[in-house]
Symmetry: C2
Subunit: 340 residues, 2 copies
Amino acid sequence: MSEKKAAEVTAFLERYRSFLIVSHIQPDGDAISSVLSLSFGLRRLGKETQAAIDWPIPEVFQSIPLCDQIRGYPIDNGFEALIFLDGSSPDRMGRFAKWLDEKPSCVIDHHRSALSFGTVQWVEPTASATAQLILMLNRRLGVPYDPVLATVNMLGLQTDSGFFRYSNTTADLFKDAAFLMEQGAQPYFNASTILENKKTEEFHLLTRMIQKLVILLSGKLVYSYITQEMLRECECTEEDTAGFIGELRSIKGTECAVLFVESEAGDTRVSFRSKKWFDVSQVAAYFGGGGHLKASGCSLRGDFFANIEKVVRYIERQMAQSDASKALLTLLSDRGQNEK
Amino acid sequence: MSEKKAAEVTAFLERYRSFLIVSHIQPDGDAISSVLSLSFGLRRLGKETQAAIDWPIPEVFQSIPLCDQIRGYPIDNGFEALIFLDGSSPDRMGRFAKWLDEKPSCVIDHHRSALSFGTVQWVEPTASATAQLILMLNRRLGVPYDPVLATVNMLGLQTDSGFFRYSNTTADLFKDAAFLMEQGAQPYFNASTILENKKTEEFHLLTRMIQKLVILLSGKLVYSYITQEMLRECECTEEDTAGFIGELRSIKGTECAVLFVESEAGDTRVSFRSKKWFDVSQVAAYFGGGGHLKASGCSLRGDFFANIEKVVRYIERQMAQSDASKALLTLLSDRGQNEK
């Protein structure tokens, strides 16, 4: 962790009295955890804050404490400084990005693909989650924790590390989790809220997805897809497919898993996951998306099945070219940065 | 943790030179992790040890390091003392139980349902896993850790806490995990080995199980079953159903989930899980099984479908009688003991 950067950000937080604290569109657990933990942390120090995300909060997070305190767009321009969390580029702020030119701004992120922007920017790819950086800042500032704030802060540590299962899980992440437990965090509440809330219809959709499964390169590459028609037939929404890419990666022998979901607007939403050595961040980047070495995504216009064909052919070529042992060595020298 | 008991066990380990270290039949991750961590820990101190389990090692664990060093029954009677790990009663030792009468023995466990047996017995229900107790003992004894031993010891911490998602996850568990990370543990290796090794046939079996799903008490009770015929049709074995009870519990609104699996010998294997307040350990105990408040199991003889009927009717009555708020209060005063 960069002590210098943390000090710079701490100074930024101490300098102003009121903040708009934004996280990225298509919010995940880390976005929600980070924006709430910093917002309610700073309030406990007497600052005025508003948490905001220019996107509806996914249903699965709606029963997380304080989540109803996140506002959407628009918001009054009455704040002194802008903070943007867990977003690697200005467009991830949605319509709040317009204030980047008008207000002093601070960007805090852990994505290695982060662009350079903001008055002050702290990008820490060794952090497992942005919520981990927020915990560090709150502790530096002397924010008092209680079970609610601890549980909310824990959420990002959990979701961005795949509940401590992914390869970005570090000793520091476990230590931070232990600290939050001592403040009364309830990780089981978060896990149960997020993971044990399936509609039975989701199992039917999963079945349909498995029926469409295509296995290539002796099982190293697997992909499947979900169309709007499949969603309608199973009475599911795009949101319900959130865990499905993980199901594809869980197949024995898979190195790279890809899921294509047709959005309501007709776009092709693509999720990529890899297990050990294949770099899916470069695949996503090639198609205009972004992410981590083992978890990334992109969105494509145009014909759904033509897009599938194009992406799959590209990955096939990339995987054939990849020298697995070389890639493995790179990954080993790069621990803690290799997965969302 | 009982300091007195830990000291007693440490003295037992220091007293003898050679040990047979046994864990329970139908071994899970904690059984395997505990037996290997203590066996290879003591060897590093110059002791002679043999790890043993009177049951085949499930395929999913076979690529865990050192797992091939666990022996089955029989084993030569050339050891001085017997250690039994993670087993709450002598019959869980399988055929190794016969030596309980002949040798000085030490029993280490974290199940609240543990019977009293062994020359020295340490039962610590506040521990999330028996592997956590082994880590504590190894550290007391000064066992040097390396990445292999750390990874093997981590396994039990992971599997018995549902990969840090269950309500038995504690600050101490996270601290122990952080310590093992600093010794080079690879939790992602364990998680990926166990959770990302599915055959596509398992998805078909899951679909079949969901087709049989029965929802009772407005969704609070859900159950399903898997027969030998279903296993055959999907080209799966009973072992492949290991994660299925978790899928049932993950259904929205469920308080109690039950899965019935017909064994090859025709027995009815029953798994119980609960989410918040219903005590499934008493249900399992009523039918001659055992376990924890939120995770338990039993095995029944006789007609498969008659058994299902009998168990479901019993749970329906129990759940109707349970005063949820009272049960919740009991659970809250009993943290860390309420789930495997």
